[in-house]
């Protein structure tokens, strides 16, 4: 049988299969494993009860992020349960010889921000973490996906996991995106078209002009949200943009090792004629700033549109009504002008420097609306530092905003950053599930530009109306 042209995904996956189990999963070698305080403690307990060691401690990296405060990080953590989890991570990392960037470490931050910015994430790798947004790292042409705690234990003890090979999907977006449209809008648009389960069972490759022209940070935003259409992960072929981003970062290969790696990375692309189980095509010109109106990320719409009717939603009428009821919205309404109580910019989706630049571009020379509470949370200390050095902090301060310290914060509201019940938040994070940002909280997902426009006007606003011609 002649060799059929391979996809990027096939190349990376197939090169990591240690063994195939007949009528079972593939055993996949894992190059990088990230752990954090919430999903790792029970995995370490498991190791202990089985008397197992960590097989390759140098391939695992620990950072504290999910459950950390975003103010006064120099003080002891108040909540005893959170403090206990942070301590467990530190103790486990120390005991097994795993590098640990805990609270207060200058490299600390959200795991999916820290990995790429320190050159830990590289093209062609397999990367896992006990967090579904591990798909972020796919922006580098890696196969990256979230795993459960049992699998964390598997990776710690054997550097492998068992996975049936997913089906392959390619999503093509061609053309040029317009003014005020960001990578977040591109991905929210795709999810709104595919629905929250539209890519379940698939691994997605994003291809086309829009992604080729996108920065690495933008690509991370897109791949980050692939899980929100149900995909196992999403990836983008590495190119010069990728290599330029990686070169010189702390953990990136140097010298001869760099040259060798680069030569390999350049082979990582889908060959002409390769086939996918499913392919979608979208036009950049159809995308406008997006906002969600419901309780899953598939319930998104262009900001100037009206909330779709139940029959157009694709799901059951009862689930649709439950969702709109929770949000306090109605079919066929406009979202523009709806009051906003909270604004959150941050998370592994939109907590990088370009996101804060975008936010600052709108709030510059404007003032925060009085009734809006804004939480501005950098994805890492390195991002925080950039915000200060680039003068963004001055712009924020002049506009009446305060900068918090890095962490997951209101993305999952595990720490004190919870949106109160019934309140409306425009959030740059990735999930608008019921109660995700606090019990009863009502989340509207959007880009940093839409968040900024809401923060200064106090209502849902098309950011293009605030941008210079």
């Amino acid at each position: 049988m002649s060799q059929s042209p391979a996809t990027l995904f096939d190349k990376v996956w197939d090169s990591h299969v240690v063994r195939k189990i007949e009528d079972g999963p593939d055993i996949l070698f894992i190059d990088r494993h990230f752990i954090h305080e919430v999903t790792s403690p029970v995995a370490f307990l498991g190791l202990e009860s089985r008397h197992l060691k960590v097989m390759f401690p140098e391939k695992t990296f620990a950072t504290a992020d999910h459950n950390t405060p975003t103010i006064n990080q120099h003080l002891p953590v108040q909540d005893p349960l959170s403090a206990n989890q942070l301590k467990a991570l530190e103790v486990n990392a120390g005991k097994y010889g795993i590098s640990h960037w805990g609270l207060g470490n200058p490299k600390n931050g959200i795991v999916h921000v820290v990995g790429p910015e320190n050159g830990i994430t590289l093209p062609g790798m397999t990367i896992v973490c006990g967090d579904s947004h591990t798909s972020t790292h796919g922006a580098f042409g890696a196969i990256a996906f979230g795993i459960g705690t049992s699998e964390v234990e598997m990776v710690l003890s054997s550097q492998c996991i068992m996975q049936p090979k997913p089906k392959k999907m390619r999503i093509n977006v061609n053309g040029r995106i317009g003014k005020g449209i960001t990578p977040k809008d591109v991905v929210l648009y795709i999810i709104s078209r595919l629905t929250a389960a539209g890519a379940t069972g698939y691994f997605v490759e994003f291809a086309g002009e829009v992604f080729e022209q996108m920065s690495m940070e933008g690509r991370m935003t897109v791949c980050n949200m692939s899980i929100e259409m149900g995909a196992r992960g999403g990836m983008i072929a590495p190119d010069e943009t990728t290599f330029n981003y990686i070169k010189g970062r702390e953990k990136a290969p140097k010298g001869a090792a760099w040259d060798k790696a680069l030569a390999y990375w350049k082979t990582l692309k889908t060959e002409a004629g390769a086939t996918f189980d499913l392919e979608h095509h979208f036009e950049a010109a159809d995308i406008e700033p997006m906002i969600t109106y419901g309780t899953n990320p598939g319930m998104g719409m262009g900001i100037t549109q009206h909330i779709p009717l139940a029959q157009a939603s694709g799901g059951s009428k009862a689930s649709y009504e439950k969702s709109l009821g929770y949000m306090g919205f109605h079919e066929d309404e406009s979202m523009l002008g709806k009051k906003v109580d909270y604004v959150f910019i941050g998370s592994c989706t939109n907590g990088r420097i370009e996101d804060f630049r975008a936010f600052a571009s709108i709030v510059k020379n404007r003032k925060k609306a009085d009734h809006v509470t804004a939480w501005i949370v950098p994805g890492s200390h390195i991002v925080e530092q950039q915000i200060k050095e680039e003068g963004i902090l001055d712009i924020l301060t002049a506009a009446g905003f305060q900068l918090r310290q890095p962490g997951c914060s209101a993305c999952l509201a595990m720490n004190d950053d919870k949106i109160p019940a019934g309140k409306y938040a425009v959030s740059t994070s990735n999930r608008n599930f019921e109660g995700r940002q606090g019990p009863g909280a009502r989340t509207m997902l959007a880009s940093p530009l839409v968040a900024a426009a809401a923060a200064v006007t106090g209502v849902v606003t098309d950011p293009r109306t605030l941008m210079a011609e």
Partner: protein, 198 residues
């Protein structure tokens, strides 16, 4: 952790005909602070089950004494969202051993299989039949037969086959897990690692 063997489960079922039940609903993030895996059942579906003052919400199915059993029957796209295995632990800890839906999110399905909960994916039409059978008689029993890979509504005898790969089926019926398997192939893994450029 090895778990109980799963072969044939005969039980009444708890119906939850809601689509896109995500893992934030199954167990909200604020209950993920434990460093052990037990005790999560108390907070299963916390915000659908209890009012803010901790009184039970009467209209929620887990608070309705006419429904009980070891099988949870959910709507399409069950277990989407966060990868938290705590969601599967909470379902297990509450007493369920099997979840039935017409469609599961991938990570939730893996997590369930890894801790000994059987996810049974049925056709939308059969799911509907199950919901209607439970509506007609809350005590109606389902039989989930893993060796035969069938699920049957006992009252009517209606049955459907479900998929599971041979490897996982073998694990579930014997109570083995993947870590046992991987420990036995360490040499092969080490040989692979020696060739990796990373």
């Amino acid at each position: 952790m090895a778990y109980d063997k799963f072969t044939v489960l005969k039980s009444s079922a708890v119906p939850m005909p809601i689509e896109n039940v995500d893992t934030d609903q199954i167990i909200p993030a604020r209950f993920l602070k434990a460093t052990e895996r037990t005790g999560f059942g108390d907070n299963l579906f916390r915000d659908w089950r209890y009012n803010p003052d901790n009184t039970p919400k009467k209209d929620f199915v887990l608070n309705n004494p006419i429904y009980s059993g070891k099988i949870l029957v959910g709507g399409k796209n069950f277990g989407s969202g966060s990868s938290r295995e705590h969601a599967a632990w909470a379902i297990y800890d509450y007493g369920f051993r099997c979840v039935v839906s017409s469609f599961f999110a991938d990570i939730f399905k893996n997590n369930s299989l890894n801790i000994g909960i059987l996810p049974v994916q049925v056709s939308p039409a059969f799911l509907d039949k199950i919901f209607r059978a439970i509506e007609a008689d809350p005590k109606t029993e389902l039989e989930v037969n893993l060796p035969d890979q069938t699920i049957t509504i006992l009252a009517t005898g209606e049955s459907e086959a479900f998929e599971i790969n041979t490897y996982k089926k073998h694990n579930m019926t014997n109570g083995y897990d993947d870590i046992d398997y991987l420990q036995a192939m360490k040499e092969e893994i080490r040989a692979y690692a020696g060739k990796s450029i990373y």
